[in-house]
């Protein structure tokens, strides 16, 4: 089996799974309990938090555990709206965000908030200039993803941060679910960025766990009220086995990050160079540094993306249509739509997403199958 769908989810690292099992078996006390068993769990919880903070280059008390990317995005968007509603009711985001952000925004619109959805250019990127023009005196949040999950475009976070330096009161959120371990940590953790959200299962941690960076001086309303965990900002008994496993997975991910990114880039380039030779291929991802090293999105014109996915599947190769979240719902890709790609072409889009375990040999096998399928589709499609 060749797994090229790592933006949907990744395989849990065996070492992380081992941690998960060990913690479940041995350190199962509630970190809030006063007795020694609870103390031990608390110690591990904080040690995991410290490790993640160190890996991200931030302070220990700036890391909060969540259930994943969707919760993180919901929390920052709605939590900011609740926290800062007396200061303003305007939020800015892009039209290519993950639905966790877009649908949170839509929900806020129903409650009377106003949202500006920034357009994107032909590369799927927003412009800092347009963002600046959209800022109003009552703007309370700017939420822009680091890496687009459908085509891999990297958004100009540094430039946006530059603009927002003149607006110190606005919360700046970066959804970095697709950006971790892809060689752009310095950009993601820009010192003007206030909130960054991450999802564990995108980097070989188990499901149901994620974390958020919250700059110390920023305030965010809680969405989960209860027993006061996570500094009373996110109640609920901590998912310690998953938290420890995530801390380990993150450490493993970032070990030798540069080489791993290079490897993915080579595979990406290999496939990119190969498939773009075919006339009926429309390529949306690029090989420039403003695109992530692990995502390739393209079409075979005239063939539905779904059909291509299943055709590859017959050869034991797993890829996806544009994003796993929308692929079952037969909706057109939000990103391609925002890029003004005609619907007819957008429905053909497929996405390949790599991780550090993929190899050039797998890429070779992929292009062999690709060529075979391309000619097969040509027959029915001419």
């Amino acid at each position: 089996m060749i797994y090229f769908d790592n933006s949907a989810t990744t395989k849990v690292a065996p070492q992380a799974l081992e941690t998960y099992t060990k913690v479940s078996n041995q350190i199962w006390g509630n970190p809030s309990s006063l007795h020694a068993s609870g103390e031990k769990a608390f110690g591990l919880l904080e040690q995991a938090r410290l490790q993640i903070a160190n890996l991200m280059g931030v302070k220990q008390d700036e890391i909060f555990f969540t259930s994943g990317g969707t919760e993180g995005d919901n929390w920052v968007v709605k939590g900011t709206a609740i926290e800062k509603r007396m200061h303003g009711k305007h939020l800015i985001t892009s039209s290519v965000e993950h639905p966790a952000v877009l649908n949170s925004m839509a929900q806020l619109e129903k409650l009377g908030f106003e949202v500006t959805y920034l357009p994107v250019n032909e590369k799927g990127q927003v412009s800092a200039k347009e963002l600046k023009a959209a800022i109003r005196p009552d703007t309370i949040l700017v939420s822009i993803m680091a890496v687009n999950n459908e085509i891999g475009a990297i958004q100009p976070i540094d430039e946006i941060a530059g603009v927002l330096r003149n607006y110190p009161k606005i919360h700046f959120h970066v959804d970095a679910v697709q950006g971790i371990g892809k060689g752009i940590q310095q950009m993601i953790m820009n010192d003007r960025v206030d909130f960054v959200t991450f999802s564990g299962h995108k980097f070989h941690a188990p499901r149901g766990i994620g974390f958020m960076f919250k700059r110390r001086e920023r305030k965010l309303a809680s969405l989960m009220s209860g027993g006061g965990q996570e500094k009373n900002l996110r109640s609920g008994t901590e998912n310690l086995p998953a938290i420890a496993a995530m801390a380990k997975a993150l450490r493993l991910l970032l070990e030798g990050e540069k080489d791993k990114v290079q490897k993915q880039l080579e595979i990406k380039k290999f496939i990119y160079d190969y498939v773009t030779k075919f006339p009926k291929v429309t390529m949306f991802s690029r090989m420039t540094p403003d695109f992530a090293p692990h995502i390739l999105c393209f079409t075979i014109d005239g063939v539905r993306g779904e059909t291509i996915v299943h055709a590859f599947e017959e050869h034991g190769i797993y890829i996806s249509t544009t994003s796993a979240c929308s692929s079952k719902k037969h909706v057109v890709s939000g990103t391609l739509n925002a890029m003004n790609i005609p619907e007819k072409i957008a429905t053909s889009a497929i996405r390949i997403s790599l991780d550090e375990h993929n190899s050039l040999a797998e890429a070779q096998e992929f292009v062999d199958v690709f060529e075979q399928l391309y000619h097969q589709f040509e027959k029915i499609n001419s």
Binding site: L34, E39, L44, E46, Q47, L50, A244
Partner: protein, 405 residues
């Protein structure tokens, strides 16, 4: 910048006349203790300066520690180059470039302890100044209050360049003012009192009362970890734990509730005094602030102080709570202090303690108890440990989780 040496300037002690030598020796000792985790350092405490040769140790980490050593006015990281004017020129430009922003002003300040060197101080200033002006476009010379002062010291073993002066902790070297006992509870105030005592040169030892099972193991560990937070200022601190259960139970049973607090505290002070005398302590420090709680009134102090002839010093006596908290945050004890474990001061707290206890009554109630026996048994159960910086007592040590993470 890869620094080779840190030059340390002394604080107030330069004015201390005859005691100067013992002050410098003490500061040298404290600095070595506090930097013990950097084995490659070579530390020389001379009459006017201290020189710390880094020998490859990380200068940032060393300087972070150095900032916590009392008795240091300020220090400058410096780079040693060979006695070759060309090398000095290049290094000077490199150092200034690192701090340069548009419109930066600078001057060169040369000192020469080796008068055989080919250039004198003025010639060196001119030469380097000119070279920097030629090689960093946009930089200007300014003699009074420039942004960057590049200090150049010509010594027989090399030429030393430095461009930054970093403030130290000030105060006096810990130990030069003698030894004192700090009554450490686990709250916010007592660690701050300890810090302030050390700042004026007092070597403190912690006296902590614990009453199992009324107080938990965690409360004891919390006090130990607080001690560890204060250790960087001296290197290590002795932690003296005193069993207090029997005394508290007895007092609770036999003393009217309004005087529980007063009598308990008289016992604590008695014990602290005995420990001080045994260990050659000259004073007792505590974290009392006037009017903060019932036991911290002048009347109460009179009723408690009665049991000792040693000076009882209260460094935070006139501070507001938020002033104390500010210092606690600065020395990083605050987050620990507010962890909610019962300590010996909070258990058995009477519902309505007397805010104006009378000395004669305190004596009267206490006379009913077997004071000598209780004190003797508590003294017999004392345990002393030495605590260094960065020791963890509350959570499991990071090592035990290393395999999991």
């Amino acid at each position: 910048m890869q620094y080779t040496e840190i030059m340390v300037r002394y604080g107030e002690l330069s004015t201390k006349g005859k005691n100067r030598k013992s002050f410098i020796d003490r500061l040298g000792f404290n600095t070595r203790e506090s930097l013990h985790s950097f084995p490659k350092l070579a530390i020389k405490a001379n009459r006017d300066r201290m020189h710390i040769q880094l020998n490859g140790e990380d200068s940032t980490a060393v300087m972070k520690r150095l900032k916590q050593v009392f008795g240091i006015q300020n220090f400058s990281p410096s780079v040693k180059v060979k006695r070759d004017v060309e090398l000095v020129k290049q290094k000077a430009v490199e150092m200034i470039k690192e701090q340069f922003e548009e419109g930066t002003t600078f001057k060169i300040n040369t000192r020469r302890s080796d008068h055989d060197f080919e250039l004198d101080t003025n010639a060196m200033n001119d030469l380097l100044g000119g070279y920097v002006l030629d090689n960093i476009p946009g930089i200007k010379v300014k003699m009074k209050k420039p942004d960057i002062t590049l200090r150049v010291e010509i010594r027989s073993n090399g030429i030393f360049l430095s461009s930054k002066t970093i403030n130290g902790a000030g105060g006096l070297p810990v130990g030069t003012a003698g030894k004192g006992m700090l009554m450490l509870s686990g709250g916010i105030d007592s660690p701050v009192a300890g810090y302030l005592a050390m700042k004026r040169g007092v070597a403190i030892e912690m006296v902590h009362f614990f009453s199992p099972p009324y107080t938990s193991e965690q409360a004891l560990n919390k006090a130990k970890e607080l001690t560890s937070k204060l250790a960087p200022f001296v290197g290590s601190i002795k932690f003296i734990q005193v069993p207090f259960t029997e005394i508290q139970e007895t007092v609770k049973h036999d003393v009217p509730s309004g005087y529980l607090m007063t009598v308990q505290r008289r016992f604590m002070l008695r014990l602290a005094t005995l420990i001080a005398k045994k260990r050659e302590g000259l004073a007792i420090f505590n974290g009392e602030a006037l009017g903060q709680v019932a036991s911290q009134t002048l009347e109460s102090m009179v009723a408690i102080n009665d049991v000792t002839t040693l000076p009882v010093l209260r460094p935070v006596v006139s501070m507001d709570k938020n002033e104390i908290i500010e210092i606690a945050q600065e020395i990083d004890t605050f987050d620990l202090s507010i962890m909610p474990f019962e300590d010996c001061c909070t258990i058995f707290a009477p519902p309505a303690p007397k805010t104006r206890p009378r000395l004669d009554k305190a004596r009267l109630y206490e006379a009913r108890l077997d004071v000598d026996g209780l004190i003797e048994r508590a003294m017999a159960g004392i345990k002393i440990t030495e605590i260094k910086s960065d020791q963890k007592f509350l959570a499991e040590t990071s090592d035990s989780f290393a395999e999991l993470l």
